[in-house]
Symmetry: C2
Subunit: 246 residues, 2 copies
């Protein structure tokens, strides 16, 4: 499994991802699912990937090659705007899937991959998109300021309650970490290290990028505080009418 | 969708369920998924149902008929112990599914249903079981003191953090309500009224049974307090090293 989340707030974007991959419980690996593509001062894009790992690796590799190949017709650094970048990633993804699906008609392996792409191109405002395996995409809005891919249900409730456009970048990053922590507690298919990247609007460079594992001091303190604060929140709930108020 | 949870603590059992059913978003209904079978002083059993509604209704109807039919070979009130009751419910469920699957081979409708059965028979300790569509079942243990059926992921994280055998019946009931509330916030397929039933060990009768909807005073206060307490829990988390402590 995988769990990635992208959050769009007024002051910028936050990206977070776990690093566990598995093809059955006896075949577990660690792969980063966070791929920044940055040309400082011009383009700052981050891709989060879920689904078939071979597909998402091929897509990332193709995006990197197109950037290096000055003769390439399209690349993330040549996109005129964010929509063009989304459409290009969708097209690359479809191409890779088509190739592998073709070679694999006897087996029922799902070669689909879903992506979150976010960032800023030039003077556009920062944007966040969910790119489907079919290559089409959705943009985040003030009403729907975050996207999740992979094992999303466990960690959705806290995002639903906390995330809104006025949130600070730091609070958005903390909320993403809490969401990852809750998911990894309930599903062994999602696990550390957790990566968090913060982008501040109009900076056109990465603001902060962290990798947290179970030994990282801040993540340890966050985990423990969240567990304690949740218990306090729970035990502070109103009692049933027949319970003695003690 | 459906979301039901059964919790086993040292002092008894808690059952909770939502009431929303849907076959597509344009076909939404309200059906109770909580079915108590009580012979005071002898048998106290509660069945929670998920999956195909026609199947679960037929199963409940058959269980009720067998209780009324004094000539029936088996019934929930004739079971010698809890395991026998589980096996019997599993058998009835398989029979109902087989009948409908047989009549429906052209269509791909899933007639499967999953149940939680819990309660106490005579002097046995209270027990809780998850009954699969195949008719086999799992019993709850101190390490796994709760079962969920239906749309379970959204509401699992709070149960994972709070539920343990030493919890009071009231806290277990509150935790089940919080879990239902969080699920219904994140998934419109799960909705009120929410039913909660509490069984106190060795009483062999229902201790408390409630139905909460959005207008119920206690549920309103609980929802609001949980939303506020969660925000307090979140905003009380440790800050990143570079954030000013203000």
């Amino acid at each position: 499994m995988t769990y990635c989340v992208g959050i769009q707030v007024n002051t910028g974007l936050v990206f977070a991802s776990d690093s566990r991959t598995n093809a059955g419980v006896d075949n577990i690996g660690t792969f980063s699912k966070m791929h920044p593509f940055v040309k400082e001062g011009e383009v700052m894009l981050v891709l989060l990937s879920s689904g078939n790992l071979a597909t998402s690796q091929s897509v990332v590799s193709r995006l990197q090659k197109d950037i290096k190949n000055t003769a390439a017709e399209q690349s993330l650094f040549k996109a005129a705007d964010f929509s063009e970048a989304c459409a290009y990633v969708g097209e690359v993804s479809r191409g890779v899937q088509k190739q592998h699906a073709g070679e694999d008609q006897q087996n029922s392996v799902n070669v689909g991959a879903t992506f979150i792409l976010g960032g800023q191109i030039g003077q556009e405002r920062p944007k966040l998109a969910l790119i489907y395996p079919q290559g089409n995409y959705l943009l985040a809005t003030a009403e729907t300021p975050f996207f999740q891919i992979g094992e999303l249900k466990y960690g959705k409730t806290i995002l639903d309650r906390i995330v809104e456009p006025s949130l600070s970048l730091e609070d958005a990053a903390r909320c993403a970490l809490v969401s990852l922590d809750s998911t990894s507690r309930s599903n062994v298919g999602v696990g550390p290290p957790f990566e968090v990247l913060m982008y501040r609007r109009d900076s056109l460079r990465i603001e902060q990028r962290f990798k947290y594992d179970l030994e990282t001091d801040y993540y340890q303190r966050l985990r423990q505080a969240w567990a304690e604060n949740l218990r306090t929140a729970f035990y502070g709930l109103p009692r049933f009418d027949w319970e003695r108020d003690d």
